[in-house]
Amino acid sequence: MAIEIRNVEKTFGAFTALGGVSLDVRSGELLALLGPSGSGKTTLLRIIAGLDHADAGEVSFDGQDTRDRAARDRKVGFVFQHYALFRHMTVFDNVAFGLRVKKKAERPAEMDIRRRVGQLLEMVQLSHLASRYPSQLSGGQRQRVALARALAIEPKVLLLDEPFGALDAKVRKDLRKWLRHLHDDMHITSIFVTHDQEEALELADRVVVMNHGQIIQVGTPAEVYDTPADSFVFDFLGGVNRLNGVIEGGVARLDGKAVRVDGEVGPNGPAVIYVRPHQVELDVAPGDGVPEGKWSARVSSLHAAGPVARLELDLAGRALEAQLSRDRLSDLALDVGSWCTVDFRHARVFPAKN
């Protein structure tokens, strides 16, 4: 099912939690809502589910406005951040809940409910724990019960609020992979909320970056990573060098030398130049000074475990991280303390914020 979100606004008192958000969610995709805490991700998810009402704007499912559809009629699967499992019910009864509360005419026979719940528990690999209570489960197991419970009503949309937030790193990675496979098998339109950029980039078909109740950028993980819309996205995705420079007459300069940058340059004044470590190009330092238009830096530390080498450089007092292949590193014969020339293959510049 496709979801269209048009100019949705939501305020809590004087606070604007969502300030005119528009988004098209494609049928069958796995979409990540990525943003710092308080950026309005949960609020947007709750409005889609019908748990909150937008002050303005509309949400439609397959072209149909949802304004008059109560949460219970939306057939949305919702996995809450803290799972919200029914503590007095067994795992089995939790999963069966959505089937048992159906109106008499639509309710499956108890035998069919048992079969369906059995299948779901098998799918989330929890058949052996069917008669346990939620308090007797680990975090990862609770998470999967919550997912099975949400899927039991055969939802057209699956909404997950920070699905891996409360889990430890190892379980998190496993569940992430598992969720991706599950989505590939079932193709339910799915939206998950996260504040972890790595999770969003690794798992999602498309990523929606949010900040202060606004959507800043929408794109595939590669698009968002390679061409961040602004300095916020750059900073939030992380893994980037920030170098203080200036913009003068439409040219970005670092220590007086021009930096070739992609995209707009912006008005004159202090600026921050963003360069990803793998876009930093190193070369052996010639004996007779720095070549035209390049910079000179000294290697301050070197990590060469794995196929990619990471170098910390000192560029006129600024820390600069670079990544290059092990082969390239041995060609250059660099070591801690040695000098090299530096250039930037791709860089972006944004006016500095005060």
Partner: protein
């Protein structure tokens, strides 16, 4: 001073002497102010033998008082169960204007003297009260009749269920209910299948306490009842009348029944806590 690993005690806590003294003091206090009077009630009731005790209880006026007390509790407790759950639900799960006013109102019966509560009813429904003449013209008597006793009791016992439930429901939040609704449950299904099981222990406590007070209430009931023997006397009122007539054995016989009720309530609460400790703990998680 050398560190002796065997003498380590928790940082918070006192030496053994202080602890013993505190415990002793508490027990002494309880014995003097609670256990002793309780024992006195029973010993006075049985002072002239079991026959006299039984006679005090089976006197027609005593039986009528017992019956009225049971009737009043049977009306007041279910009413306050429903009101209490509804009010707690509204306060804990929704935001609305006048919420703090509602909270204050719930506490009102605790904060005003029961005698005042009774007087308010007299002023409203008594012969010279606001609605008195109208009620009289329509042949309805509230003050100095059973309806007044019931109303005063409902008023005085209102906070017990709500006070027990509000903090519990606030702590539990609304996520479980939201989960149920998204799964397609109706409001009633959500309440019956999710909310009610989550609050059942708190609710049971509240009902037990409400019941104990409903049967034991004196002040408010005393003002509105009119002390009509065999008609509007509840057990506590009957005890007072007998006592004022120097009929000590009968007075204490009825009083011992009330005291027994209190003990049964406490025991029921303790047994529930002990029997369902796991579930109570799980429900709080």
């Amino acid at each position: 001073m050398p560190a002796d690993p065997h003498s380590r005690r928790p940082a918070v806590g006192e030496g053994p002497v202080t602890r013993l003294a505190l415990i002793g003091l508490a027990i002494l206090f309880l014995a003097a102010f609670l256990a002793l009077p309780l024992a006195a009630v029973f010993s006075q009731a049985l002072a002239k033998g079991f026959g006299a005790f039984l006679k005090g209880l089976t006197d027609p006026d005593a039986l009528s008082a017992i019956q009225l007390t049971l009737t009043v509790a049977a009306i007041a407790v279910p009413l306050n169960l429903v009101f209490g759950v509804a009010a707690s639900w509204a306060i804990a799960k929704f935001n609305f204007r006048g919420k703090s006013l509602l909270l204050a109102l719930i506490d009102l019966p605790f904060s005003v003297s029961p005698v005042i509560s009774g007087l308010v009813y007299v002023l409203l429904f008594g012969l010279h009260g606001s609605f008195g003449p109208w009620l009289r013209d329509h042949g309805v008597q509230i003050i100095f009749a059973v309806p007044g006793v019931v109303m005063a009791t409902v008023f005085v016992t209102f906070p017990f269920v709500a006070r027990e439930l509000i903090p519990l429901m606030q702590e539990q939040g609304v996520e479980d209910e939201e989960a149920a609704i998204v799964l397609g449950a109706s409001g009633w299904q959500t309440f019956r299948l999710v909310t009610l099981p989550n609050i059942r222990w708190g609710l049971l406590y509240g009902v037990l306490l409400c019941n104990a007070r409903a049967m034991g209430e004196f002040g408010a009931v005393s003002v509105v009842s009119g002390h009509i023997r065999g008609k509007t006397n509840t057990m506590p009122l009957h005890v007072e009348i007998l006592y004022n007539e120097y009929n000590f054995v009968a007075a204490f016989a009825v009083a011992s029944l009330l005291a027994l009720l209190a003990l049964v309530t406490l025991a029921a609460k303790a047994i529930l806590e002990w029997r369902f400790a796991d579930q109570i703990a799980a429900a709080k998680r």
